[in-house]
Amino acid sequence: MNSPAEQPGSMPGTDASAVGASGPTAAGPSAAVLTAPVLAAAGLVKVYPPAGRAGQPSIALAGVSLELAEGACLGVVGESGCGKSTLARLLVGLERPTAGTVLLQGQPVTNFRRPELARRLQLVSQDPFSSLNPRLTVASALTEVLLVHRRVPGRKQAEQRVAELLDMVSLGPQFASRLPHEMSGGQAQRVAIARAIAAEPQILILDEPTSALDVSVRAGIVNLLARLRSELALSYLFISHDMAVIRQLSDQIGVMYAGRFVERGPWQSVMSAPLHPYTRALLTAVPEPHPDGSLLGSADDLAHDAPDTGKVQVAASGRTGCPYFPRCPIRIDKCLTDDPPLEVVTGAHEAACYRAGVAVESGGVPAESGGVPAESGGPPGERA
C-alpha cells in the first residue's frame, strides 16, 4: 500500500494540502496550528467486500485527507454510515486502507511497530466495557499499560502512577481495586481514558466517547477531555454524531457524508456559517434544549429534506455526481454529473459543493420524489 506516489514527500502536492488545519487565516485559538501535523491522512479509501452473494462492495471511505495539528482538536461529525468510525480504525491501524496513507509524525503509520504506535496514538471508543478486560481490576489494567510501554521503571512506581492517573480522570483511589462490572458507564469511560493516557500518547482518537452516556455523565466526560487536552498538550481527533458535543471540544470541525469530508473549517465558521447544505440540514435537525419550536416550527421545509432512506448513499461503482444530490434542496444539473471536490471557500473554510453557501429558497426546491434513491438491499454502511 505504500506505493511511491504515496510517499510522505508527495503530501503537499495532494489535496491534503488544502485541508486547512494550518494556515494563518485559521481562526482556531491554538498557536499550535502553525506547526507540522502530528497526524495526517492522504487519499484514504476503504472498500469492504460484498456482504452477501448478490451484494456490491461497499465503499466506507471514498478519499479522505486530513491533517491534525499538534495540540489541536479536529472534530469529525456525521451520521451513521458516513465512514467516521472506519476513519478512526484506519488512523489507529486497526484496519488497513484500500488506498491512501496515514502519516504519524511525518512517517507512514505502517513503519511503526504496534507498541511504538500505541505510545503515540490511543483510541477511546464508545463502549468502555468492551475495551476493558472484565477480569482485570482498574489497577491491573493501568499497570499493564505502564509496564508494557515502560512508562514506569517497576511495579512499585506503577502503583503511585495509577493513583495519579485516577486522580487525573477525577476518580478516587478506591477505584484502583474495582472491576469493570463494579463501575457505572461514566466511571468505566474515565478508566478507559486513564488507560489511554497511561501510555503517554500525543494523540487520542476519540470515537463517540460520550454517546452511550446519560446527559449528566456525558457533561463530565466532555469537560474531562477538554481539561486533559490542555494539561497534557494532547491532539484530538474527536468523532461524534452530535453537533453540539463536537462544537464543545473542536478547533476545527469536519463534516462527513458518504465516506468523505463535505465541509471543514474553524468551528465558529462551520457552526455559524455552514456552507454545505448537508451541514445545514444537520444543524437544523439538532433538537436544541430550548423550547423555541425550531425543530417542528420549520417543518414545512422537511418536504425536501433528506428522503427517509436512513442510509447515506455512498458512491457506488459507476456512480457520478455529488453523493448528496438525492437529498439536496439546492442542487443544480451539474451536481448530477460532476462530483464537487473539497475546496477552500473562504479563509480556512472548505466545502465540497458547487452551491456552497447558497440559501434554500422556499418553494423552488426539487420534489422529494425526484431523486429519492430506491431502498435497495444492503446499502453500504459502516461496519460495526
Binding site: 453540539a244 419550536g293 417542528l296
Partner: protein
Amino acid sequence: MTDRNVTSASPVLAIRDLSVGLKTRTGVTELVRSVSLEIRPGERVGLVGESGSGKSLTMLAVMGLLASPVTVTGGSVTLGETELVGAPDRKLRALRGSEIAMVYQDPMTSLDPLQRIGEQIAEGLRAHGAHRNEAEERALAALAEVQLPDPHRLARAYPHELSGGMRQRVMIAAALAGNPRLLLADEPTTALDVTIQRQILSLVARIQRARNLAVLWVTHDLGVAAQFVQRLAVMYAGRMVEVGPTAAVFGAPQHPYTAALLAAVPSTTGERSALGQIPGSPPEPGNFPPGCSFASRCRQARPGCIRAEPALEARGDGVAAACFVPPAEWQP
C-alpha cells in the same frame, strides 16, 4: 404551531399515585414511586429522565406490560373511564392496538422479520375485528399517512429491506392504523440519526394534531422534549421531581435536578463554556436513599433534605416541583 387548547377536555389517560416494585422473598423493592400524570386529547406530554429514573417502567406499567416479579404495587391508571391496573389480560389486549398504541426504540424487536410489512399491519387490524380486504386497505392508507413512498411496493417488503427510519415509520403506521386515542412512545427516535429523527417527530406531531391524539413520549433527550412536547415530567430515582408546561420548566426550572440537567446539555449556539456537571451518579433502582434522592448530588441541599422526602408542590405557571429549597434561595 397551532396546537389546540387542551386544558378543558377530560383526560384520556390519568395516572394516579402509580408505584411499581420488584417483589422478592424479603419484600418489595420500589422502582417507581407515586407518579401522577394526566394527558388530555391533543396533548403531547413528555416523560424525561436518565437511565434508571423509572420513565420506561412507568410506561410499561401504563400498558400493563410489566413482567413478574416487577408489578404495579399501588395507584391507578385510567383510560377514559376504564381502570387498567388489575384489568384482565384479555381486556388489555383488546385495548392495546385499538385504544392505546405503542412505539418503541427498536422497531426490529416489534416487527416480525418473516412477515411482509402490509400483512403485519393488517393482521393487527384483523385482530380488532376488521375484515381482510378492509384491513389491507387500511394498512396501505396507514403506510401512506406516514409518508412512505410507494405504499403498495412497501407493503410487500420485509422489515430487513428497510432503513431504520423507514422501519420506525412502519411502526408508527402500525400503531396508528387502529385509530387509537392514546399513543405511548418509548424513545422511538433515540437510535435514529438527527435528520431522520426530525422527520419522524414532525410526522408524529402532524398526525397527532390532525387526530387530536394524546401522546406520552418517553425520552432521555432534553432537546427532543423541549422541541416536541407541550408538558413534561422530569423523573429522578423513580419519582417525578418536576412537572409542568415545557416552556415554564425549561425557562425557569424549579427543581435543582432539572436545572443541573439543563446546564449539562451542550448547545449548537451561544457561548462555548464548560458544561454543568452533576457530581456522582444517579442511585441504582432499588437503592434509593432516604429523604430526597437527589440530595447527595445537589448543590442546594440542606441538612433536612436527607431526612424527609419533599412532595410535589405547585410553584405557579402550572409547574410543580418536589424540593424544599425554592429557586430564590439557590446558591449560584
